[in-house]
Amino acid sequence: MIGVISYLVFFSTVAAILAIAVLGLNLQWGNTGLFNGGVVAFFGAGAYATLIFGGTPQEGQLGGFALPYPLALLGGMFVAGVMAWIVGILTLRLRHDYLAIATFGVAVAFENLMRNAEALAGGAQGLRGFERPLFDALGGGLAYNSLFLICVLVLLLAVYVFLERLIRSPFGRLLRAIREDETAARSLGKNPARIRLTSFITGSVIMGMSGGLYGTFYAFISPQDVLPILTFQIWAMLIVGGAGNNRGAVAGAFLIWGAWTASGWALSRFAPQEVQLYTGSVQFILIGFVIVGMLLWRPQGLFEEKLVVSQQGRTATKELQGDRR
């Protein structure tokens, strides 16, 4: 029984951490229509930076500043935000798919840098030497993990409330206005590129927080944790939950993470020995089908609510419709 509860606490912690990242993505994609192809880079930046700022000094390695934990986490969020600022300023005034390509590139380059830069990030072995806050005081175990889960849930709720208020604020109305009719918004004296940049950075900072918590939970981060598949998982969570819908995003995170762990468990339990190596491939195909299938058959997500995105196609799409008739 304790085993089941421990596992549930463990599962919920990871799912809740990922849900925070999904909420960050929802601000970018669901509310602003920005395509972030490298969620994992901002997540990873938060994780690595939190561990570098908050970790104990290690030989031959940068960091180990041993900052108080809240400062370390804020530092992680800050680094993710700076990265988003650089990418955003370069791409947000261009054709919208440049952002997709550039963010995808950031993720590739980030993983590459973490894998190779031993002095900065510990290279392929990852970052160690981080002590979880209050771990000693509470003596670890289920009590600690439960407390950690509560903290994560509080932060998840805080982010949720923050975003709900944000999209109902004048800023949120601007986001919608720009998404629906950029020219009109511009003619009202608003600068769409700037507003999109703000939204992109805010979303990425939230992803950085998620990454920071993830790194804290495991007290370890390595290049294996920042592979592109995480980006796809977070997307699948959002698209299943329904873009533009924060409650759906959180539900999607728990649902997809549940499906992912369950499918992994089932494959390792029931699949024959010789196909065990291909467990990952099967799971990736499943995620791929979830993304494509949702787009084709239920683009509004499983939990439809108000505020559904209307990603209107322009130009060629319209012309193609003429041809299709």
Binding site: K318, G322, D323, R325
Partner: protein, 243 residues
């Protein structure tokens, strides 16, 4: 009763169904004549010929080409039906040479291609002289000639032209409109949208005035030109001097 080359009846059309730009518009174009559509900005003139050409969806009404229903055609099939459309801007392929532009529209002409190309160059000598140059390098008036040549290449029975004189110097505008008039001598039907009311009425046989997505007045061009009320209300407040 005149022989109608093209007739539109009760046209309701717009880019989105909820916001029709044209509301119950009709148009008749007599065979071998110039029919001009005029009206203030935003009246729906261009939308009307785009709807005929299949570029704007028609949600109600019919377009008849002779006795053939061509409502909501696929734009790429209009040429085969004998209707050519010359857009107002971007009506030539800038990155192709003049010759390539014409060869492109003649690509299905088969063995005839060389002869028809020669015939077009004979009709437009300035284009023949520059045939190896990129079309993007042509002057405004010559662009319109090339655009018309491309339309003629498919041997249409009806040519829809969207403001062919827009942006041209007065002399070039007069040349282009004069050429449109001349085309009718070969039996081609011309439907023309124009802002340049005075000149358009001079070359037109019949005129439709549109405002706010609806028909206002129509009649023989010569009559409308001399109608002071029409001049004041629809032609920008100025009386149009008789020819």
């Amino acid at each position: 009763m005149t022989d109608l080359a093209l007739e539109a009846r009760g046209i309701v059309a717009g880019y989105v169904p909820e916001l029709p730009i044209l509301r119950d518009v009709h148009l008749q174009a007599a065979r071998g004549r110039v029919t001009v559509i005029i009206g203030p900005n935003g009246a729906g003139k261009s939308t009307l010929i785009k709807a005929i050409a299949g570029l704007v969806p028609v949600s109600a009404g019919t377009v008849m080409l002779g006795d053939q229903d061509i409502t909501n055609p696929r734009p790429d099939t209009m040429g085969a039906a004998g209707v050519a459309y010359v857009p107002q801007t971007d009506n030539i392929f800038r990155t192709l040479t003049i010759r390539q532009n014409l060869e492109l529209v003649l690509r299905n002409a088969g063995a005839d291609r060389a002869a028809r190309l020669d015939a077009l160059f004979g009709q437009f000598p300035p284009l023949a002289a520059k045939q190896k140059e990129k079309a993007g390098a042509l002057s405004g008036g010559q662009r319109q000639f090339l655009a018309v040549a491309m339309a003629l290449a498919i041997r249409p029975s009806v040519i829809l032209m969207d403001e062919p004189s827009a942006g041209l110097a007065p002399k070039a505008a007069q040349e282009v409109l004069g050429m449109a008039r001349a085309l009718t001598e070969d039996g081609v039907t011309i439907i023309l949208v124009e802002q340049n009311v005075r000149q358009a009425l001079r070359i037109a046989d019949h005129c439709f005035i549109l405002a706010d997505g609806q028909n206002q007045v129509d009649g023989p061009a010569a009559d409308l030109m001399n109608d002071p009320i029409v001049g004041q209300i629809y032609l920008g407040g100025k009386r149009v001097a008789p020819a």
